[in-house]
Assembly symmetry: C2
């Protein structure tokens, strides 16, 4: 029988953040594709779109009008998944049937426009303009987190129609809520048990080994590293990790904000350059909850989950087996890292 | 402040199978949608397609030719995610770094054509023909499960291009493998701890309460119930559960097979009738692993995860918040149940 080679043989890798495995099938990339093709994001030409509800001066739902803002603009989502109002409930939590547990959830949904310019995306913005986005993320994390009923703040961006984004105007979202969401609870448990065992953060130790091996490192500056995690699930999944264990955006100095903006610009530029299109993804920050507990186990990081696999129009489907059994990927994280390393940090539109 | 009402207020519900929560936002269904629209599955007219690699007599990849089969036909996937060959590895499992765990994975991928007729889908097949599919699922579960290196058999169907299905010929897949996949391990742990505590299966107790309340029950016959689970995540998510705690397909009598086929036909017919199209979904069976352990905690069930939300062309996107934080849904499970109850069991094409 053959001896195991991770480039050719199906194998499973362990994700220590989620305590679950991913099935890696390098040999499967060869199968032909006759399935659905996506429409790649075409370049937006207009800096202002009169029909866009995020552009400066335009009106939104409920007759609200956007100010004539410049740069970053944040407002409450007109159709939020959460509501600020407190609701009362009779049933004490522990009285509920263990198979029919239900609790009201309170929170705030914010929309953050990254720029007044309708035609831009993060990689096309200047480092200074992205630094402004990062500083507003920090402000929002802090001001929302300070509210006594908010215990967790999820900052994220859905980019591209294929990722459920319904407006190409550069923007992200912030969902702040009373409960710590399931996936964050799970990550926190794993970070905590590692910290309790080793006295260092899981991601600090992980990063030292990645920096030593270099194999999956895409970008590095004084403050941050972008890499393809060893346990990456999406074809071009990456993570940005702070070099020292910063708990959250609250620990970011002015310099950290600029360094983070720089690596955000370079990483998203590399993404766009893979297929010379605006590369779709969902991305978001995982950091300490705002529940006033001490959280030495938390180590600031940002996940990028891009769906494209073979080309600008063929994505990876996380369906059937993946929904019922386990995440599965077709090219190895090391092959993706190779492609991302070679991809330029000069945007294809500027060449 | 208002008093809580699950029809109007955001809340979280607990999924006891996965030990995680889902955020329910009933008020959010009102938001306008300007995002991506899917192409609904158009009806297939030809019972035989000369270019289909699943049709009888046609050739597949690697010059293999399908037999001139009638009814159900099963074969090894030409581009499987798993391989049968054993591979050896030097590194003992427990020597591996806890942050870089990787193990070879061995298994078998099978494709199961539900019918020779290219134009059909499950709801359009007769109960007798679907019973044959169920009996082949049972045979495969048993024969694959008997192999000493196979410890788990995942049976599933991806239906529709939007669910990554690349061929409309009615078919499903079977992935059999050495390891028990992450999600199944998690479900098993939750089933087990419930069983150890109560001496009955979690789904048996759950089912008694659902049958009593009737609110989320869609279909019921002598052997099975189809319902919208209290913790449903996808807009029209359902589960088929056996009325008595059958461990797996191995426990299915001939009568059970026919009863299961009947409920499969009726449920998928109701789905098609919601928007008068062939309703896309991923569906799959969760049942006892084939690892030779005793599994009293397992209770046979089949999950249906359909993505459509508002219409034949607007699906729910599980992105951003959902990928990073927690599953989220816009209409309540009870509202979906209402729609599914009203939907007819006579297929719209036969009206
Ligand atoms: O095997 P298929 O049908 O070509 O592929 C489809 O189902 C598989 C199992 O759910 C997924 O891994 C693929 O991403 C999907 O496109
Ligand atoms: O809020 P949006 O951009 O309209 O909606 C998008 O992002 C949300 C948060 O990830 C998801 O719940 C929606 O399914 C998706 O379409």
């Amino acid at each position: 029988s053959n001896s195991f080679n991770s480039k050719n043989h199906p194998h499973r890798r362990y994700n220590p953040l989620l305590d679950e495995w991913v099935l890696v099938s390098p040999q499967r990339a060869k199968r032909p594709w006759q399935g659905q093709e996506e429409k790649p994001l075409t370049s937006i030409q207009n800096q202002y779109d009169p029909k866009c509800y995020l552009c400066p001066g335009n009106s939104r739902a409920n007759e609200t009008q956007n100010p004539h803002y410049e740069g970053v603009y944040v407002f409450d989502n007109d159709f939020g998944a959460l509501l600020k109002e407190e609701v009362t409930t009779d049933k004490a939590d522990d009285e509920a049937d263990e198979l029919f547990k239900m609790k009201p959830e309170r929170g705030i949904n914010r929309v953050i426009c990254f720029s007044h310019d309708h035609s831009l995306t993060l990689p096309e913005m200047s480092v200074e303009a992205i630094t402004k986005v990062v500083s507003v993320w920090k402000e929002e994390y802090q001001s929302l987190g300070k509210l006594d009923y908010i215990n967790y703040v999820q900052i994220f961006e859905n980019k591209g129609a294929v990722m459920g984004c319904s407006n190409p105007h550069p923007h992200g979202q912030i969902w702040a809520q009373a409960s710590i969401p399931s996936q964050v609870v799970r990550t926190q448990q794993n970070l905590k048990s590692y910290y309790d065992k080793h006295g260092t953060t899981l991601l600090y130790d992980y990063l030292q080994k990645e920096i030593e091996s270099k194999e999956r490192i895409i970008l590095e500056n004084k403050g941050f590293v972008a890499l393809v995690p060893f346990w990456a699930t999406w074809p071009y999944e990456t993570m940005i990790i702070s070099k020292i264990p910063l708990n959250s955006l609250s620990d970011f100095s002015h310099e950290d904000q600029a360094l983070f903006a720089q690596i955000l610009k370079d990483l998203t530029t590399k993404y766009d350059n893979i297929f010379s299109i605006s590369f779709p993804y969902s991305a978001g920050i995982h950091q300490a909850p705002t529940d006033l507990e001490s959280h030495e186990e938390w180590h600031f990081h940002m996940h990028f989950y891009p769906p494209l696999l073979r080309s600008a129009s063929v994505k990876k489907f996380m369906v059937g087996y993946e929904m019922l059994a386990e995440a599965q990927r077709d090219i190895t994280p090391e092959q993706s890292a190779e492609i991302l390393k070679k991809s330029s940090t000069i945007h294809y539109k500027n060449k």
